[in-house]
C-alpha cells in the first residue's frame, strides 16, 4: 500500500510512459532500419579473381575474351537506360584512341533486353570500341556485376586487376593511370 500522493505520482509517470511508448516505435524503427540496412549494404558481391571466359555476339560476328589474351582488356557492362553509361562512352573512346596501339582493348557488353534500344544508343554515341550483346545477362552474372555501369580491368594473363562501379569523371582519371601502368610504354 502506497500513500495516495505516491500513487498520483506513479499515475503521472505511467501516463508519461504511455505517451513515450506511443512514440517509441519511431526511433526504434529508424535504428533498426539503419543498422540492418547498412550491414546488408556492405555485403557487396566480390568480383572473381580470374576473368570468366565468354563468347558473345558483337555488331559484326562474335567476340571471345580468349581471343584477346595477351592484351590488356577494359571490360565494361552497360545498358541504354543507364545515365552514367552515356557519360562513360566518350571516355572509353578516348582510351581506345590513345592506348589501343599500346595493347589496350575495350569491350563493352550491353545488357539491354531489347536489342533495338541498344542499337539506337550505339548509333547515337558512336563507340570506337567493341560492343557485345548479352540480353540474358549471363556474363554479368558470372562477373557479379554490382552496379550499372561496372568495368573490370583484365590483365594480359586473364586475371581481373580491378573492378569499378559506376562512372565518375574524376575517378575515371585515376582509373586511367592504373590502365596506363599496365601497358607497354
Amino acid at each position: 500500500m502506497r500513500p495516495p500522493v505516491a500513487r498520483d505520482v506513479s499515475r503521472t509517470r505511467q501516463a508519461r510512459a504511455q505517451r513515450v511508448s506511443r512514440f517509441a516505435p519511431v526511433p526504434l524503427l529508424l535504428l533498426m532500419i539503419f543498422s540492418f540496412g547498412i550491414l546488408v549494404a556492405d555485403a557487396k558481391p566480390r568480383a572473381p579473381q580470374v576473368a570468366p571466359a565468354f563468347t558473345l555476339p558483337a555488331r559484326d560476328g562474335t567476340v571471345a575474351l580468349d581471343s584477346l589474351r595477351g592484351r590488356v582488356v577494359l571490360l565494361d557492362f552497360w545498358a541504354s537506360w543507364c545515365e552514367p553509361c552515356k557519360r562513360s562512352f566518350p571516355w572509353m573512346n578516348s582510351l581506345v584512341q590513345r592506348y589501343g596501339a599500346r595493347g589496350l582493348s575495350v569491350v563493352a557488353i550491353n545488357l539491354d533486353k531489347d536489342r533495338d534500344l541498344a542499337d539506337r544508343f550505339v548509333e547515337e554515341h558512336e563507340p570506337a570500341f567493341t560492343i557485345a550483346f548479352d540480353p540474358a545477362g549471363t556474363t554479368a552474372e558470372a562477373y557479379r556485376v554490382a552496379a550499372m555501369p561496372s568495368s573490370y580491368l583484365v590483365g594480359r594473363d586473364g586475371t581481373i586487376l580491378s573492378a569499378h562501379l559506376g562512372f565518375d569523371a574524376k575517378k575515371a582519371s585515376e582509373f586511367e593511370k592504373q590502365i596506363a601502368a599496365q601497358l607497354t610504354p
Binding site: S21, P25, I33, G37, D112
Partner: protein
C-alpha cells in the same frame, strides 16, 4: 495509434528483409529506370494537387516535408 505504428513497423521490417523478394539484379533495372516508375512521376501536377486538397480538406501530409503555407479559404 499503437496498432497502426506496429503494422507500419512490421511492414517496414518485412520490406527491408532481403528475403522479401528475389533480388533484382543491377542490369534488370531497365523498367525501374524509366521516369514513369517513380512515386512522384508527375511532380508539377502533384504540386498543384497538394495545393488544391490542402485548401479544400482537413488533412495534409504523408509524402513530403517541402512546400509552403497559404491562407487559402
Amino acid at each position: 495509434m499503437k496498432p497502426l505504428l506496429f503494422v507500419l513497423a512490421l511492414t517496414a521490417a518485412a520490406l527491408l528483409s532481403s528475403c522479401a523478394a528475389t533480388a533484382v539484379k543491377p542490369w534488370d533495372r531497365d523498367l525501374l529506370a524509366e521516369k514513369k516508375m517513380r512515386f512522384n512521376a508527375y511532380p508539377m501536377i502533384g504540386a498543384v494537387d497538394e495545393h488544391i486538397y490542402f485548401s479544400k480538406e482537413g488533412s495534409t501530409g504523408g509524402a513530403s516535408v517541402a512546400g509552403g503555407g497559404c491562407g487559402c479559404n
